[in-house]
């Protein structure tokens, strides 16, 4: 939901100055240097308390031609508006998406719907790197099903341009003709201002904060995609750029700035998306993360149905769970399936928050009636299968 700056100003007496960029923070002097973009006028603005909520910036490769017309990141509403305008005004025919993550998938579907021919490239051997390869393969299949051409294991090498416009994307294997390129190569925290001001950074250069969203500099707070989180399954600092987390960060920071006392408990890495009819969701740690942490795990993947088999609209669902060897503690889960599949990840998310074992998950009293689920919920079935292996 977007509220315009006038609403904030008039109804909430929040002095929102759009078109203003803060270019420096002086924590000791309790002031920031703000530049009005329209005319470049710079002015020091004093503060008693400062909240840094500078978000994330899309990763843009340091390659010749990366600034050419027709190449877009899509991280802000403004960038989305710019892509739409470009499509309407320039009528591009061939879209190339670099990166097969959430942004890449959603943009692939959006561009297909706009009538473009779409090719997706990723340097990894799979799409959706936050899923395990076997689950990512289900997503790739669905993308191909809506007409997306996919080239995996091909790094971005360069761009071809003519007169400042993009004409092609060069991978390690080929050159793909392109009139429109969307970069979905991930984001990094926009923490430059904080770093330059001497405010300590943490995981992936996000701004280090405690559970109250305080930085290590008194009177300076950070929240959202620029700030660090804590992963409740790995018990380690974690960086995630998601609106849900940003809202919670902001809420906690706001309460504490007001003199209250709130704590941001942490995340379990839950995320969900959709490619046409396919819902894709994950929570917790996946195999690559577990291997990196040296955690010994068992995993089971099951196929079931979203509703009772005879109920209209029933479709396939694949659930994969991972649990710690020995203890049986649930470590993560991934779900791919048709309507009704994706939000089942919340069972996994809550179980991770609660520290349940897969045996406990298989015994949960979950809702059943034919329009909603088979008698045994697919997540419970996967938990039972995983229990046999821990």
């Amino acid at each position: 939901m977007i509220r315009n700056p006038e609403t904030f100003r008039e109804r909430f007496r929040i002095d929102v100055r759009t078109g203003h960029e803060v270019v420096a923070i002086d924590p000791a002097g309790h002031r920031v240097l703000a530049r009005r973009l329209a005319d470049g006028l710079e002015r020091w603005e004093p503060f008693d308390q400062l909240l840094i909520a500078t978000g994330a910036v899309p990763y843009v490769p340091d390659l010749a031609g990366a600034g050419a017309r027709g190449i877009f990141g899509v991280n802000t509403l403004q960038q989305g508006v710019e892509i739409r305008r470009f499509i309407e005004e320039e009528r591009p025919q061939r879209g190339v998406i670099v990166g097969g993550g959430y942004i890449g998938l959603e943009m692939a579907e959006a561009l297909i719907r706009q009538g473009l021919g779409v090719t997706l490239v990723d340097r990894q051997p799979q799409v959706m790197g936050t899923l395990d390869p076997d689950m990512g393969a289900l997503v790739a299949e669905a993308l191909r099903g809506i007409g997306v051409t996919i080239h995996l294991g091909e790094p971005l090498v360069g761009f071809e341009t003519t007169g400042g416009r993009v004409t092609g994307v060069v991978t390690g294997e080929r050159t793909l003709p392109a009139d429109l390129v969307v970069l979905g190569m991930g984001v990094r925290p926009n923490s430059r201002l904080a770093r330059e001001a001497g405010i300590p950074l943490g995981e992936k250069e996000s701004i280090r904060v405690n559970g109250r969203m305080e930085t290590e500099v008194a009177g300076v707070w950070a929240a959202g995609d620029c700030a660090e989180s804590f992963h409740l399954v790995s018990r380690r600092p974690f960086y995630v750029a998601l609106g849900t987390v940003a809202n919670k960060h902001g809420r906690v920071a706001g309460i504490n700035i007001s003199g209250g006392n709130a704590l941001f408990g942490g995340v379990v890495g839950t995320a969900i998306t959709k490619v046409c009819d396919l819902e894709v969701a994950r929570s917790g740690l996946h195999e690559k993360e577990l291997a990196g942490l040296g955690i010994d795990y068992a995993t089971a993947r099951i196929e079931s149905r979203t509703h009772a088999g005879y109920y209209p609209g029933v479709g396939p669902i694949t659930v994969k769970l991972l649990a710690e060897k020995g203890s049986g503690r649930l470590l993560g889960g991934q779900i791919v399936g048709t309507q009704g599949a994706g939000k089942r990840i919340d069972i996994v998310a809550v179980s991770l928050h609660a520290g349940l074992t897969v045996a406990q998950v298989s015994d949960l009293d979950l809702a059943y009636a034919p329009p909603f689920s088979p008698v045994w919920d697919p997540v419970a079935i996967a938990a039972r299968e995983t229990t046999k292996l821990v």
Binding site: R3, V22, L37, L50, L77
Partner: protein
């Protein structure tokens, strides 16, 4: 603490969520948010 001033750098989800909380709890506080783009964002 009359006259206290909160400055927020960034007017998207985190910045405006915080701003709304602060306004609700501290009617007296001056809140200034700087946003580079023409948009603010807020969801609840």
């Amino acid at each position: 603490m009359a006259g206290e001033r909160l400055v927020i750098v960034g007017g998207d989800a985190a910045g405006m969520s915080a701003a709304s909380q602060v306004r609700r709890r501290r009617p007296d506080l001056e809140i200034v948010a700087f946003e580079r783009t023409p948009f603010t964002s807020y969801s609840n």
